[in-house]
Symmetry: C2
Subunit: 355 residues, 2 copies
């Protein structure tokens, strides 16, 4: 009997998360916030791996600006397991760099790619699904993606279309589908053959290498060259800065033929906006969610993400209020998308202090 | 020809103004706020008297807690002209104390009683009306009250009913009317014989003394006793604390027969609530009023009284937002009265730090 495959986790934690302004900032992105539970999303993501992965096999990859803080937040991991991208260049370069960094330390194993800023319920189910995917990837050499069963016609996510089911319940992927218009999203929802792509992947180190070299060699080859010349830290920024900015979905998954999907059994959210964060809080009898001190008179369906100040509100409804020491957001809960515009305006106005 | 009468101003500045919470606090009442113009209401009130009164004839009467700050805010007045009530006990004791304090310094003159926390437009018209009232009081010995021509059926003010007009355009007062129900307020509005009582009075020192002794001797006599025994500061709190808590309207004006009314020619507001304060600001094309830094997206008919923090708002309307370092108010503009309830709640919860 073969040894069980060595499991390696790669947590992508370089996200910016401007959608949670003013709580999220360039130096305090979404994964550093406790917006869906008492722990930060980063802590939740790493703690979920307890027992399933050895700490020395858990890697977190982030950008240079966030590396020190990320390392400080995760004292349970070896400091050298915080891998540092010189800059954010989307997920294909990020995972290619993770690959070459991990190959220098671990000869082989199955890599489980996760996002630091998603919420996952049911850790038990998550572990089971990871085990299924790891076994499948190790035994078949396929590239495995987790598929989330859609619950509504979301137009902001990519979809994955599956064909027949293989022996272990894992499904064959036919195609990756771009963010669809509403009509198509409705068809996807009804088809039963389409899943949300949550950007979580499982593959052996060897199969990832093979896939990258075959489908996007310009992402991996320069990093291999860097490694063969001694992996000089000082030389990486220039090399990395020339890699094509591509998502792993586009660079690899859409092109590869050996892609399989594990339909997940855990609850999942990408916590993409303030209203999504509100969903994680228990509302009071008026539908209000409150962090911090408040006095609410005739207030309904509103959320107050307060700090140290008292928030008093009267006669309002459907508001999202986010209170930070240097900035205050008051928006209708249907207008939470406009946070992006606000951040844009701040950029235009040179308010780096608030970004 | 007689000398023109000596003019003395008494500015009542002991108000609490909880209706402007969280900007107003026990140590920073309404008269200390610049809510109707660039200057505080207290500064506006005193500066309006420039040229009309000698600084040494301008008195400001306030409570012990506010005395130091009031004195510091008005360096142009002699420090001893800030008269100190041991505690707030309504306007009859306040004016009786002012009378005995002023009598010790100035043998006779005409006293013009003003409020520190009202707004007055048209300083020229104001001065003219004061002159009219002063001349009338000095020549007739009557107690003069300013009457504001009502512009809508306000049920929160007292009204003054007048009869015939005297030679100088000043009108004879028939009766003081309590805050009326709406139906009566509508009749008052239509009658042409009813004015708002804005609590501004003009009388000679001698006539005020005569009126108080005749109609409410228990307000003045104890203070006369105190004066005759040397006006010992240390003895005042006990004596003052026993005076009946009465408004001058009730203690004197409603009872006196020799009362006249000067119909004012200036614009006036008692700036009684946040929406009233909004009226004094020039709105932008969306009907918004902003103090401080803001980014507003699809925001209408709202007012933002900000501080040093940026306020970003999106998709909201008809809000009043008041931002202080330790507290934030967000209320519908039709619910501004609920500020009183909020202040009550803070009292119940022992949050003296926010009051």
């Amino acid at each position: 009997m073969q040894n069980p495959p060595q499991k390696i986790a790669v947590v992508m934690a370089g996200g910016k998360g401007t959608r949670f302004w003013p709580r999220s900032r360039s130096q305090r992105p979404k994964q550093f916030l406790a917006i869906a539970g008492k722990e930060t999303l980063l802590h939740q993501t790493v703690h979920r791996l307890d027992g399933l992965f050895e700490p020395r096999h858990i890697f977190v990859v982030t950008t240079r600006e966030l590396a020190d803080e990320t390392r400080a937040m995760l004292p349970g991991l070896p400091p050298e397991n915080i891998l540092v991208e010189p800059e954010g260049r989307n997920t294909a370069p990020c995972l290619a760099l993770s690959l070459v960094e991990i190959e220098r330390r671990i000869p082989d194993g199955v890599m489980v790619v996760l996002s630091a800023d998603h919420w996952i319920g049911d850790t038990e189910a998550f572990i089971q699904d990871v085990e299924t995917a790891v076994d499948h990837a190790a035994s078949t050499g396929e590239l495995v993606v987790f598929g989330i069963k859609p619950t509504y016609p979301e137009t902001g996510y990519g979809y994955i279309e599956v064909g027949g089911t293989e022996g272990d319940g894992v499904q064959k992927v036919l195609a990756f589908r771009e963010k669809p218009p509403m009509e198509m999203a409705l068809q996807y929802l009804q088809s039963g053959r389409h899943y949300w792509n949550a950007g979580m992947f499982v593959w052996t180190l060897g199969d990832l290498r093979k896939g990258l070299l075959q489908h996007c060699p310009d992402v991996l080859a320069p990093l291999d060259g860097w490694t063969s010349q001694g992996a000089d830290e000082a030389a990486l920024p220039v090399i990395y800065g020339r890699l094509p900015q591509l998502a792993i979905d586009v660079a690899l998954m859409e092109k590869a033929q050996n892609v399989a999907l594990v339909s997940t059994h855990f609850r999942w959210s990408d916590v993409g906006s303030w209203p999504a964060a509100v969903e994680f809080q228990e509302p009071d009898s008026n539908g209000n969610v409150v962090q911090g001190q408040s006095i609410l008179l005739d207030v309904k369906n509103s959320a107050f993400f307060g700090g140290t100040r008292l928030i008093a509100a009267s006669g309002v409804s459907d508001l999202i209020v986010v209170d930070e020491p240097d900035a205050l957001l008051i928006c209708h809960r249907d207008k939470a998308q406009s946070v992006k515009q606000i951040v844009e305006r701040l950029k235009q106005e040179g308010r780096e202090d608030l970004l």
